[in-house]
């Protein structure tokens, strides 16, 4: 058979992690001899739906969607199904009335990520900690799920409390500005035991704010976050941060493997192809940083 054509409706490039996901997808496409058409939705769901519909119109062999939100996909998925085009969801599950509308979802468990980092923090602080939380963009599903997982984890420890929580919009300057205010509101930072950032970028911003307040991040105020971007490993290596949960940016690879299997010998893939979420600590940070620098 000829080369497979795959359309990938990607969210955008709002974070370093997202850019890495796109980059990995391209690498995997060349490895698997797939013609990958990427459409960048600039963080808008309507653009992703438009892109998916135009992929259907072009008659591609498979469609990958990295859903920007969990809901609202039934219509376009139904069209894809009618056109007999298999659809793979990358890095996020959706809520749908009819799961048969898509072929498989390749994702990590975002609630689990929050849970993991929460448990880790509990261990670090001996179950006693006044935590400030830097939320992601209000209404975005990683923000919702990571918060949920983390809260589940600390619910088991009555002395662990989120005392302040604000949105830093997943950005470094957002994280920094919010952290600055938290520090001032909490007795110039002395009442804060740890900061939990929904992503690494905000975590890095928080580290800067802590330093500028004359405190030592990683010690005076513990810093934990999620994503596993290189700069966070570097911060851990420098002793400024205490942990991150890596979310693998290689979502397209497993999806392509499954698609090829489906096309060549009609193997139905598993409905949920789970990618690993791994906790990293300062102990291995330097080595991990060196390994990753090239990938991003």
């Amino acid at each position: 058979a000829g080369q497979l054509v795959v359309g990938f409706a990607q969210v955008g490039s709002e974070s370093g992690w997202r850019a890495a996901e796109t980059k990995t997808a391209k690498i995997r496409a060349t490895q698997n001899n797939i013609d990958l058409k990427i459409s960048d939705a600039q963080q808008k769901q309507e653009n992703e739906i438009k892109a998916a519909r135009s992929f259907i119109a072009q008659g591609v062999d498979g469609i990958f969607i990295a859903p920007v939100v969990a809901t609202g996909w039934d219509g376009v998925l139904r069209e894809a199904k009618e056109a007999n085009i298999p659809v793979f969801l990358l890095d996020r599950q959706i809520e749908t009335s009819d799961p048969s509308l898509y072929t498989a979802a390749v994702t990590s468990d975002t609630i689990l990520e929050g849970h993991m980092i929460g448990d880790y923090l509990a261990g670090l602080t001996h179950d006693k900690c006044r935590i400030v939380e830097l939320q992601g963009t209000v209404g975005s599903s990683p923000a919702i799920n990571r918060k949920k997982g983390f809260e589940e984890a600390i619910a088991a420890h009555p002395d662990m409390k989120i005392v302040r929580s604000q949105s830093g919009d997943f950005t470094r300057s957002g994280g920094k500005q919010v952290m600055e205010s938290f520090i001032k509101a909490e007795n110039n930072g002395h009442d804060i035991c740890a900061v939990f950032a929904h992503n690494d970028d905000m975590g890095i911003g928080a580290i800067q704010a802590i330093k500028e307040a004359g405190l030592k991040p990683g010690k005076d105020i513990l810093v934990v976050s999620i994503d596993g971007v290189p700069d966070m490993f570097k911060a851990m290596a420098d002793g400024d941060a205490n942990g991150t949960v890596e979310l693998s940016p290689d979502m397209a690879g497993p999806a392509m493997k499954a698609l090829i299997a489906l096309k060549t010998d009609k193997t139905q893939p598993a409905k949920w192809i789970k990618t690993p979420s791994t906790l990293f600590t300062p102990a291995t940070a330097q080595a991990e940083y060196d390994r990753r620098k090239s990938m991003y």
């Binding site: 209000v138 300057s173 205010s181 509101a185 500028e212 004359g214």
Partner: protein, 349 residues
């Protein structure tokens, strides 16, 4: 022509006053609004006005307001002039991203600091020139002309950074965002410097008059011999410069260029600051200092929200209501109704 002597009139009912009439200061609503917002901040956070030194830098919430407000304050300087010519510049956020991206990538490639600054400011000027040409020469409506760069500019910035947050370690570049002179944060000094420069440029020369004239009535101004197009181009260039500086501040602050997020939606805050400062979107009269106060109001509000501990879901609603209240306060209608605020001249009925 001096020979033209005033004809003697037997009766002149309205003799123009010899003394220059004292024009009433028109900024009371803004100052009042700022005071109210600051007071509210003090209520939600008792230590709001408390300032002490940390690492040779002034430290405190009120300093945060000035420091965090710096990018919007810088933008609002250029934006004020653009709006005074009846234009608008939506591209400033994207230009910030570009200048930050240029600075970060260059500094990482080992270029010397003066060159880095020159290149990134140059990029801002170039962007401004492009906007100016679109508006003044190609006669594209400002909102759309600058929308083009708003969309494409962020793409250009990401092209420069390769979609990554480009981190740098340069202390000297970082100082623009986090340094301090005599305890005062560099961004605040930068705002003060740029404000002084902009004021001097517009008020010590005739440029301010030309800008106001062109904004109020472009046709009449051109007929009076003003090079209206030149004036328009120069305000967009100035806005580009201000945006470039704001971009430098933001990049230097986090020691990294975040092309996707730097300056995102700041154009709206800048426009808001200008309008809250009392400059009309229909062009004409502008007030730089009041625009800065507008920027301070917005930042005092943002900081207050962060300090207050309300849930982030409510941020926007609080912001909307406060903005509306400030606007209502300075509406000519309310001002006429409340004699305390009355200043300048009333519009008819």
């Amino acid at each position: 022509m001096n020979a033209v002597s005033p004809p003697v009139r037997p009766e002149t009912p309205t003799v123009p006053t010899k003394r220059r009439p004292r024009v009433a200061f028109a900024g009371w609503p803004q100052i009042l609004a700022l005071a109210v917002v600051l007071l509210a901040d003090r209520l939600v956070s008792p230590g709001f006005f408390h300032v002490h030194m940390v690492d040779g830098r002034l430290f405190g919430s009120i300093i945060d307001v000035l420091n965090r407000g710096a990018p919007v304050a810088l933008l609002s300087l250029g934006m004020t002039l653009v709006i005074a010519t009846r234009g608008i510049d939506l591209s400033v956020g994207a230009v910030m991203a570009i200048s930050g991206a240029v600075a970060a990538t260059l500094v990482n490639s080992g270029t010397s600091l003066p060159l880095v600054l020159a290149a990134s400011i140059g990029a801002g000027l170039l962007c401004g020139l492009w906007n100016g040409i679109l508006v003044a020469l190609l006669r594209i409506q400002p909102i759309v002309a600058t929308l083009i760069l708003m969309v494409a500019g962020r793409g250009i910035a990401q092209l420069i950074t390769g979609g990554q947050v480009v981190t740098f370690d340069s202390r000297s570049l970082g100082a623009i965002g986090t340094g301090a002179v005599f305890g005062i944060p560099v961004p605040v000094l930068l705002v003060a410097g740029m404000a002084g420069l902009t004021l001097a440029l517009t008020r010590l020369t005739a440029l301010g008059l030309f800008i106001e004239a062109v904004g109020a009535n472009e046709r009449s101004s051109a007929y009076a011999g003003i090079g209206a197009r030149g004036v328009q181009i120069s305000v967009y260039v100035w806005s580009g410069l201000c945006a470039a500086l704001a971009g430098l501040v933001v990049a230097a602050d986090i020691h990294g260029a975040d092309a996707n997020n730097a300056g995102l939606w700041l154009e709206l805050d800048a426009i808001l600051a200008v309008v809250v400062g009392g400059t009309s979107l229909f062009g004409g009269r502008f007030r730089l200092v009041l625009s800065l106060i507008g920027a301070a109001i917005i930042q005092a509000l943002n900081t207050g929200i962060l300090l207050s501990g309300i849930r982030p879901e409510y941020n926007l609603i609080v912001k909307a209501l406060v903005v509306l209240a400030v606007l209502l306060l300075q509406s000519p209608v309310t001002r006429n109704a409340l004699p305390v605020l009355r200043s300048g001249f009333r519009k008819n009925s």
